[in-house]
């Protein structure tokens, strides 16, 4: 892989802590948009993020962020904002200073830093409590003030380690909207999260990790297609469920067709979704069945997580 100016590239990256494996032989590249890292505790998500930002160094391999490495800190950290999972703050600091002084280290003057600080506080919904000591903040407020610091200098790459932890539903929705807005501007947003429903909803692509290895990465539906061991589940809400189930059973690739309890739909498990959709078209055009809705039932992050990693996508 050649480091590209617009991509984030991992080239055969491994990290060992003594004899303990952090991540092993990770290679992939990311385009702008929202990328989620998903995996259980100890799977290497935080290690990957720390490697990406130079907080730790790879035992082997190379990492490029927009063609830059953390060894060029001035250019690199102008482009990158990292909201870590470390829930610690400089003693005695208040919310405003926590954002203002790092901006001064970026080289912004006093007025510029003040303006950017106020803007970041507004975006993170923390303007009202900015003058309070961070030590007195709730967990959700501490999460948001770290987010505010990470976005204050308008980075092109935003890295967020469990950014939704500790947030109430309203703050969570606002944060997600913020991530989506940033991604829409053509920027990279890399998130690790155990809230798989939200990951599923906002991610352009997902990296599934387990025991230090990347087990799959890409767009959710594309990855689902690749998981051939587990037949795809398709839910069809229709008028004549028995007729559809009978027709489906005639296909070799359909391994199960279960009529829903209310009798108004069928859950089909098939090894070839494309062929099933062709059949469905034929049945519908023949007027045998009236279809209300068709939806894949397991091409989501959680299902793929279960298929690939083998546990429910509980807290990671």
């Amino acid at each position: 892989m050649t480091p590209s100016a617009g991509q984030i590239v991992f080239e055969n990256v491994s990290k060992f802590y003594g004899e303990v494996l952090g991540v092993n032989k990770v290679s992939f590249s990311l385009e702008p948009g929202i990328t989620s890292l998903v995996g259980p505790n100890g799977s290497g998500k935080t290690t990957l993020m720390n490697l990406l930002t130079g907080l730790i160094k790879p035992s082997q391999g190379a990492i490029y962020v927009l063609g830059l490495t953390p060894q060029q800190p001035i250019e690199f950290f102008r482009q990158v904002g990292y909201c870590t999972q470390f829930d610690s703050f400089p003693p005695g600091t208040n919310g405003y200073d926590f954002i203002y002084w790092p901006l001064r280290l970026h080289g912004f003057g006093g007025d510029q830093s003040a303006k950017l600080t106020n803007e970041a506080l507004e975006r993170a919904g923390m303007a009202q409590v900015a003058q309070r000591k961070v030590a007195g903040y709730s967990k959700g407020m501490r999460q948001r003030i770290r987010l505010a610091q990470a976005i204050a200098h308008h980075p092109s790459v935003l890295i967020l380690d469990e950014p939704l932890n500790g947030l109430d539903p309203m703050a969570r929705a606002e944060s997600i909207a913020l991530f989506e807005a940033i991604a829409k501007q053509g920027m990279h947003v890399i998130i690790s999260s155990h809230i798989l429903e939200e990951v599923d909803r906002i991610s352009d692509r997902v990296v599934w990790m387990s025991s230090g290895y990347v087990v799959a990465e890409g767009q959710i539906r594309e990855v689902r297609k690749e998981v051939r061991d587990h037949p795809m589940q398709i839910l069809v809400r229709c008028s004549n469920a028995a007729r559809l189930a009978a027709a489906a059973f005639e296909l070799d690739h359909v391994v199960e067709a279960k009529i829903l309890n209310d009798g108004h739909g069928v859950l089909v498990r098939t090894r070839d979704a494309e062929q099933f959709y062709l059949l469905l078209n034929k049945i519908v055009s023949g007027g045998l069945v009236e279809v209300d809705a068709v939806a894949p039932a397991d091409d989501d992050v959680n299902s793929i997580y279960q298929y690939l990693i083998g546990s429910d996508g509980g807290p990671t």
Partner: protein, 292 residues
Amino acid sequence: MSAQSLVALGQKWSREQPWRLYGSQVSVLVRNEVRRNLLTRRRIWIYLLAFLPVLMILAHVIFDRNEGAGPAQLENDTQVLAGIVQLYYLRLGIFFACMAIFTWLFRGEMVERTLHYQFLVPVRREVLVVGKFFAGAIIAIALFEMAVLACFYLMYSRFGSAGKSYVFDGPGVGQLGSYLLVTALACLGYGAVFLAFSLLFKNPIIPGVVIMGWEAVAPIFPPWAQRLSVTFYLKHLCPVSLPIRGPLAIFTIVAGPVSPFVAVLGLLFLTIAILALSCFLIHRMEITYTAE
């Protein structure tokens, strides 16, 4: 002006004038570190280290009023002051205070789990080392210069006009200048050593004790080895020699004459060399709080 324009403008400025950027970063780092480390309650014992002799001299001034204040006593007190500076401040007070101040600059942030904030801003790690070193130096020098100044004032003020005459018409001012110089140089030298230790060792206390031993026995080693000791340079700048006999005399041996100019430059060179080592070491540093 929009936030994006502000960002672009700020980045353009820092790209075009990198040395001004480094300068402003050092000043911000110094300000933050001084605020964080100087005026805090947990630093009280460092104030005690600095001002303990001041308190003792004050007690001496208050409780020994009946003691004679003639020329002999003035000469005696000059020797006492020289002992306080050479044996207490240079060997113990500044040594331990620098150990506390300078090792805490990086190691303390590891303990408090806040160092990653310093590593996630567009600051070269060398600039971080220099900024933190300056901050530590300002704190240590400010404390100990004030303490030495207070000692000097209390020691001679009780002699009235004779003391005034000794200070302003005699060797007093020159001695004060030398004490302030050796104090500042000691802070810089020990500071650089302990900053490097904090980047080399998880627990810099044991190597600190080793250094203390080295500083004590260095005079019995060959001249080239003595040059690796901070006190080697400082001893040549002390204005009053101490007539000490017995085992403590090892602290006052002056091996091979060195001019004050060479002593100052030698210590500054040693400080810069150790700082350069720290700049190299910090590039190897990783944020692994769980290993602390």
